[in-house]
């Protein structure tokens, strides 16, 4: 009897749990239809509704009572330009966003507009699921918008154009992102070494850092490298800039001098670079464990005083700060230098196109002009906001409190060019606020000044980015002397590329690594070139050149 009642009790408990859970879900279900009649579609006759999909973010902090459904940014869009935003779904972050976009496409369930990558843009165009926006863009985009999106000579817009039809709005950003060389300057002083001007200097420095162990750790290495150094997404602890020093480039289509395009991965300059890396490896300048270390792990070498040289983009000081600033004091001094060259010809940084994602408008969208309105408005509020328009950046309180409300704007494009390099170092050096132009200038200036006047030493990193000897200060020279090389191929992946690119890259990394780690002789590279051609490389080159013939300027 006792046992029976106990079982009954358990069943009852489980049931009650299930029921409460059901109750909650239905409640939530009911809430949504309730909301919809409230929408003021009828009240204001010009308000149009546009649906999209969004990615949330760890660093997006909502104000009390706000959410993706209702927040001051969406309200502001509705009030200012008469576009009411709704979300078909919201993902927790960028990685999941991409997964869910794939699902939306595969199940043919597109919102009015959303962000997709280059391959998806091509697929959607071919599947006839997205709208040709040539006319909509032409009619509704303001002059400012048109100017803004073609600052780079219209290159990025061209990547979104198929057979003369504009199929998407490039989610543009500045393509002129160079890699720099970061070196511990306090160690240079300690060991009485010159600043790295040539490749030979750099190798001497790396060797001195290894043999003399200025960090005093007992297990020094020359340079910090992570496991995927030949990948362009490795924006710090990579080796692409090292290749660039030898006039070699990673998977870039470049002119061969006869008007044809060739792939940089198989050029003889790569062999020189690999040989140099092999030498460095033999001398112990490279941590043999680099193949298993991710960026964060490899960066520990820097935080721990085990390595004092690293390649990376302009924002790298933000990474270095974790080791360089401790308890409000700068304990490591870093300097930033342009990448040195192996010979008298200056090294050229390899750069991308500055666009890998696009905003596309569904064929079913009723108000494509609403999307263009969003674009126009974003450009206005992001570049020269009036005091009230600060709501788009900070929310209803109009002041910075680290909530990152700019993430709420559903359509964001960045400047294709900036003049940070001309303005910021000068402004910070002379403490001259008057020459600042953009919002970006102002935030960076404020941060750097906090370091300069000592109120926040943690802002050391901004000073090394924007300050008089910072990374940005090196940009104008690179820009003016055109010391960069841009990929000549900007179409969607060709059939062979889609098929073989990944395999070829894997093969390449394997061979590069083996040579680097001194497991095979550097002549193995020649064998790799042959194999690369056979495994689809020749086919790819042919396709790329066919494309080039029709797109050459």
């Amino acid at each position: 009897m006792k046992k029976k009642s106990r079982i009954l009790l358990i069943v009852a408990l489980i049931l009650s749990l299930t029921i409460t859970a059901c109750g909650k879900t239905t409640n939530e279900g009911e809430k949504q239809p309730e909301k919809q009649p409230e929408t003021p579609v009828e009240q204001k006759n010009e308000v149009i509704e546009v649906s999209t999909v969004s990615a949330s973010d760890q660093y997006l902090k909502f104000d009390e009572g706000e959410s993706f459904e209702k927040n001051s940014v969406y309200d502001a869009y509705e009030k200012d330009i008469g576009v009411k935003l709704t979300n078909k779904w919201v993902s927790a972050d960028d990685v999941q966003f991409k997964e869910k976009v794939k699902m939306s496409i595969a199940s043919n369930d597109l919102p009015d507009f959303m962000k997709v990558n280059a391959t998806q843009l091509k697929e959607l165009t071919e599947a006839d699921m997205i709208m040709d926006i040539t006319d909509v863009y032409d009619k509704n985009a303001t002059d400012e918008t048109k100017k803004f999106l073609s600052m780079d000579g219209g290159m990025q817009l061209k990547t979104a154009t198929f057979d003369g039809k504009l199929m998407g709005i490039p989610s543009s950003y500045n393509p002129y992102q160079y890699q720099f060389l970061y070196v511990r300057t306090d160690w240079l002083k300690k060991l009485n070494l010159p600043e790295p001007k040539t490749m030979a200097d750099l190798l001497t420095i790396a060797e001195a850092f290894k043999t003399k162990d200025p960090g005093g750790t007992g297990k020094p290495h020359g340079i910090a490298i992570s496991k995927d150094p030949f990948n362009q997404s490795t924006a710090v602890t990579g080796l692409i800039a090292f290749l660039n020093s030898y006039h070699a480039y990673e998977n870039l289509w470049m002119e061969d001098g006869n008007g044809n395009l060739v792939n940089s991965d198989i050029q003889p300059q790569v062999k020189d670079a690999l040989k140099a890396l092999q030498e460095m490896f033999k001398k112990g300048l490279i941590d043999p464990e680099f193949v298993v270390k991710d960026v964060e792990k490899a960066a520990e070498l820097l935080y721990n005083n085990n390595a004092g040289i690293v390649y990376g983009q302009s924002w790298v000081p933000a990474q270095l700060a974790k080791g360089a600033v401790k308890d409000g004091k700068v304990v490591q001094e870093w300097g930033v230098f342009p990448i040195p060259s192996v010979d008298s010809e200056p090294a050229r940084s390899q750069i991308g196109l500055g666009v890998d994602e696009y905003y596309v408008i569904s064929k079913q969208a009723k108000h494509p002009e609403g999307v263009i309105k969003l674009l126009n408005h974003w450009i206005v509020v992001d570049n020269h906001p009036t005091p009230e328009q600060k709501v788009y950046e900070y929310g209803k309180d109009l002041k910075e409190k680290g909530n990152n409300y700019w993430l709420l704007s559903p359509l964001r494009v960045g400047k294709q060019k900036d003049n940070n390099g001309e303005i910021l170092p000068r402004a910070i050096e002379n403490k001259d606020e008057s020459i600042l132009e953009t919002k970006d200038h102002k935030t960076r200036y404020e941060r750097a000044m906090k370091y300069v006047d000592g109120t926040d030493i943690n802002m050391w990193w901004e000073y090394l980015i924007s300050g008089p000897k910072g990374a940005y200060s090196l940009v104008p020279e690179i820009q003016n002397n055109k010391q960069y090389l841009q990929n000549k191929f900007y179409g969607a992946p060709t059939p062979t590329m889609a098929d073989r690119q990944e395999i070829l890259k894997k093969k390449r990394d394997e061979v590069y690594f083996k040579i680097m780690m001194n497991q095979v002789s550097v002549d193995e590279f020649d064998k790799f070139v042959e194999e690369w051609k056979k495994l689809g490389g020749d086919e790819m080159t042919k396709e790329v050149n066919e494309w080039y013939a029709t797109h050459k300027q």
């Binding site: 660093y59 979300n87 919201v90 927790a92 999941q96 924006a235 924002w315 974790k322």
Partner: protein, 294 residues
């Protein structure tokens, strides 16, 4: 129980012991490492000083975790999911396994149904059709999307089915003779007898529900409805550096919360760590009992 052990036997036992000990150590180390990380200070963690013992002991990471409303919300979703999911799943498994354990004379379409279920192990509709089905049934963004697809795990059904077959037929006959129907026989005789097997399949189901993250990401349209593992995935997956645009670079400086990550992983693994020892004795017995037939 004294046996004369030969030298070879002893040697084998020693080697075996060392081998198994090192395997279990290998399994244990990562957990201890994470635990040590979660109790260390952020600076020690990002400098790579922490191995198996906390450095600069602090519980700040745990305070941080329990102060995060989104973490606790996701935790609650997961608990709901496990309770509802396991209940439904167990119920369906039992009422599916029971009739299939009868022979074809009693249940004529038995073979057809058996193959019907086995078929679903071998072939599945694939991700997109699954998604479309769930969507068209209006289950997106509700807990049912996590619970109903996959509520019948055929593997568990087979396990239980074999267990029922191994029970003596006389039990059923006598209960029918006493006037019980099939339902009464099932709930009064078979279910109580099969508790070890049920504990096993129940544990499988619970662990499965607790650990799965992909469906949460696919079927949930708002991060508020994510189960815990889907939420955790967002903090563990590394940032893709190619997509760090200059505007995002500032975020990088805040990225070093390794200790808090470790704490969140540990808290998430904890409920299952607790459940295991209690069900473990059934666990071993259950699998073996279902598989052996006279």
């Amino acid at each position: 129980m004294r046996t004369n052990r030969s030298f070879g036997r002893k040697l084998f036992l020693i080697c075996n012991f060392i081998f198994l000990a090192s395997v279990s150590l290998l399994c244990l180390m990562p957990i201890i490492h994470i635990l040590a990380l979660s109790f260390s200070s952020g600076q020690a963690a990002s400098a790579g000083k922490v191995i198996l013992w906390p450095v600069e002991f602090t519980t700040a990471a745990y305070a941080n975790v329990f102060g995060k409303p989104e973490y606790l919300r996701a935790f609650w979703v997961s608990i709901q999911r496990v309770l509802i999911g396991a209940t439904i799943s167990m119920f369906l498994t039992i009422i599916t396994a029971y009739p299939l354990s009868k022979d074809s004379r009693q249940f004529r379409l038995r073979t057809f149904y058996s193959w019907f279920f086995v078929f679903t192990i071998l072939f599945s509709g694939g991700l997109i059709p699954n998604y479309l089905t769930v969507k068209n049934l209006g289950m997106l963004d509700t807990i049912w999307a996590l619970v109903l697809p996959g509520a019948v795990t055929v593997f568990n059904v087979i396990l239980l089915l074999n267990f029922y077959r191994s029970l003596p037929k006389e039990l059923e006959e006598s209960s029918l003779l006493d006037g019980a129907g099939q339902f009464t026989t099932l709930w009064k005789i078979y279910v109580p007898l099969s508790l070890p097997a049920l504990a096993t399949t129940g544990l499988f189901t619970m662990v499965g529900h607790w650990n799965s993250w992909f469906d949460g990401m696919i079927y949930m349209n708002h991060p508020e409805n994510y189960p815990l593992q889907t939420f955790l995935q967002t903090i563990i997956i590394k940032m893709d550096f190619r997509f760090i645009k200059p505007e995002r670079a500032e975020l990088l400086i805040k990225l070093s919360d390794r200790t808090s990550r470790a704490a969140q992983i540990f808290v998430a693994a904890f409920p299952i760590l607790i459940v295991y020892p209690f069900l473990q004795r059934f666990f071993i017995k259950g699998i073996v009992m279902g598989s052996v037939k006279e």
